[in-house]
Symmetry: C2
Subunit: 466 residues, 2 copies
Amino acid sequence: MSDMRGWIEELEEAGELIRIKRPVDIRTEMGALIWESRDKALLFENIVGYPGWRTLAQAPGTMRQVGLWFGVPATKAVEEYSRQLLGGPTRCEVVGGGPVKEVKWLGEDVDLLRIPINQCWAQDGGAYIGAGLNIVRDPDSGVRNMAYHRHMVMGGRRVGCQMRTETHQWRIYQKYESRGEAMPVAIVIGHDPSLYFTGSWSGDIDVDELELAATLYRNKYGKCLELVKCETIDLEVPADAEIVIEGEMPPGVREMEGPFGEFQGYFTAAMGMNPVINVKAITMRRDAIYKTLLNFRREGDLMVQFNMSARCLGRLRELAGGLDIHTVHVSGDLITVIIQMTQRFRGDAKFALIGALSGPYLHHKIAIAVDEDVDIYDPEDVLWAISTRVNPQRDVFIIPDVRGHTYDQSLVEIGEPGRANWQAIGSRMGIDATKPSLMNDAEERKKFERTRPIGFGKVFLKDFIE
Amino acid sequence: MSDMRGWIEELEEAGELIRIKRPVDIRTEMGALIWESRDKALLFENIVGYPGWRTLAQAPGTMRQVGLWFGVPATKAVEEYSRQLLGGPTRCEVVGGGPVKEVKWLGEDVDLLRIPINQCWAQDGGAYIGAGLNIVRDPDSGVRNMAYHRHMVMGGRRVGCQMRTETHQWRIYQKYESRGEAMPVAIVIGHDPSLYFTGSWSGDIDVDELELAATLYRNKYGKCLELVKCETIDLEVPADAEIVIEGEMPPGVREMEGPFGEFQGYFTAAMGMNPVINVKAITMRRDAIYKTLLNFRREGDLMVQFNMSARCLGRLRELAGGLDIHTVHVSGDLITVIIQMTQRFRGDAKFALIGALSGPYLHHKIAIAVDEDVDIYDPEDVLWAISTRVNPQRDVFIIPDVRGHTYDQSLVEIGEPGRANWQAIGSRMGIDATKPSLMNDAEERKKFERTRPIGFGKVFLKDFIE
């Protein structure tokens, strides 16, 4: 199956999923369990107060699981995804119906509170839909846009929706708002990971992230990603999704939203008077599985990290000079970009660092370049490279007064959420922790060969212990 | 027992020691086994070619084991050691004899090759004594000095000895050398950890590290550290050591020494024409246990990290301003100092960072200050603090053209090992990754409270899995 159910099967067959059959409370228990399960996906099969509902979490929760989806080792997943993105978007097919239409809540039946939307973080302002992918359409170009936005449940028929001023959907909403019109929004919850991988893609506003998901989807399943028309708004949504919420974001309306535990590990960012979505319809599968998402070092960040890493890798590989970029890893807080590369010529690393510090995301404040012998997924190894390969006056540069990410609490915030001028201003730093160049510093480079103990890779403790 | 045997017992009782009864080859196997055992101490009881010999490694190999020795939790060990150092040195008692005199190899009997001195790293120039503490005496002041120096076995009666130009023992050797005299040296191998903790102490040249060890020793065992006179040189050595090598470092002699896997994870540093020690006698216990030491992220670095951390903590607590310094952790490569503190007043962190970047060690090129909510033993958490709390133009400073450590390959080396002018020149960097101040930025500080999932610390997966 080419949907969330197929993915659950795939995870389970690979020993990557734990079924939780005991009752779990979404208001007091679920968050800690997801947080603890850093290694395995969780399928909650018994949700207190929501008979028949199930919830999927941490799927993928590790780069190993991401690699599983792509059919490559964990360390090759970023490169594989980046390669597939080169294929560009793929048209989706609009069909007459699909599983997501099995149940339709319309009019008075609309009630978000009947869905087990859990509160993730202790400090959150309430229950939040973390895995909701907003689908909207640019009123000028007609191009669809799909993106993660956080949704605070404000009752049975309204959610708050935080939008940063740099996001495409904010810019689209501004168009509707300037015309005094409401923006139609569909919120997709639960589908194949391809949608979640590309949900945080960013680039040209005229590229539809749903069509990028369709490329991954076609590559894996050999078929089109099928869409169905919404019931109450002029938008298309994936036919095999678990749940779709249809609604409208009215112009000129802002309500108090937040706090919410965000990717950087704090919860007050972007809290304030934010837009809302009035829900007009909810459609879903008969036995819909809710998809939850925990940020900060867990699935929510992982999928964004993964996508950002691939985007950065793709853009770095476009740089002049024939750079030898192996892969990229964005940290669990989305702020630091680690580039694994071999510096062929002097200055290659700094050229790459500049590239990483200016890209389709405002998040990336710090970029670190390391060599192929550094495990970029091991923070101890990255800090070691900085310790032993950096002469700060030569290898560290800081660019002052650069626009930054509004959730980055370390920067200076100007304006406030929900306003057109809202922004952050700060600085960016590049750290070149690579070895001297291959071509022009070969002798010097040899000094940085790592020590390996006698018998390394051949002699193991297990063979010496009774 | 208040010696290495007592420590072995203490480790074993705490479940911290593994006995390796199968035969292990010191030239092809031992290194990898020590490297792999990051969590437990190893006692090798069957050394191929050295019947009757045993070798102790990774003891302590973790901060938990260091805490065990001090009787405090791992996270409190640095503070406890720093506190004990405030007691200053304790006179040692010279006694008439002791276990280390049970066996005496004199004259023709002297043969280092009969001791199972292992080669640690694949790239090493040969077998190295890693756990050898040099004891020498300043010819002017008469003050003893004890310090780690690496010793390459150059045959049965000679070892090479690398000495950096900033070390006290180099400065003492220079005095002997300028007089055309040989410097008497005793090399102590294997004793209570107190000697290994203070072996890397550095401060005023007129403080004897053996007498600092005696302070820790007295605090733990309630008695004096006993010394005995050497057989062939005018020096005193611990009576309860496992092995003592007596020798002389002749003036004006340099021989090729290296490579050797050093603390920073590389092996060519300091390789060159270094001083040698001609061995005159070896005394030991009847069933002496050899003590080996693996550097880089293992015991060798751990003991030095630990000592440096305590030294830095002690010095930071002397700073003006009533700084609230919780603890200090020096990274596994000895180059980066992480300070855990609460910034009471604005600028406290930068003041502390300056302090950490100038101390009794040339190693510390990078200093990072973090708050009490950051786990300084977890590199992921430290990188997270840098990601989310640092605005580089405000929080990072670089001091160019500072003298550095000659083993730090990233710096510029001037002169060469064994010469009086040998040095490194580079730069230092401070990173203030603390939260805004408690006193004058209380509101801003609140933004940096960490998110915690619902049920954190109360709800656990084990209670939900069948």
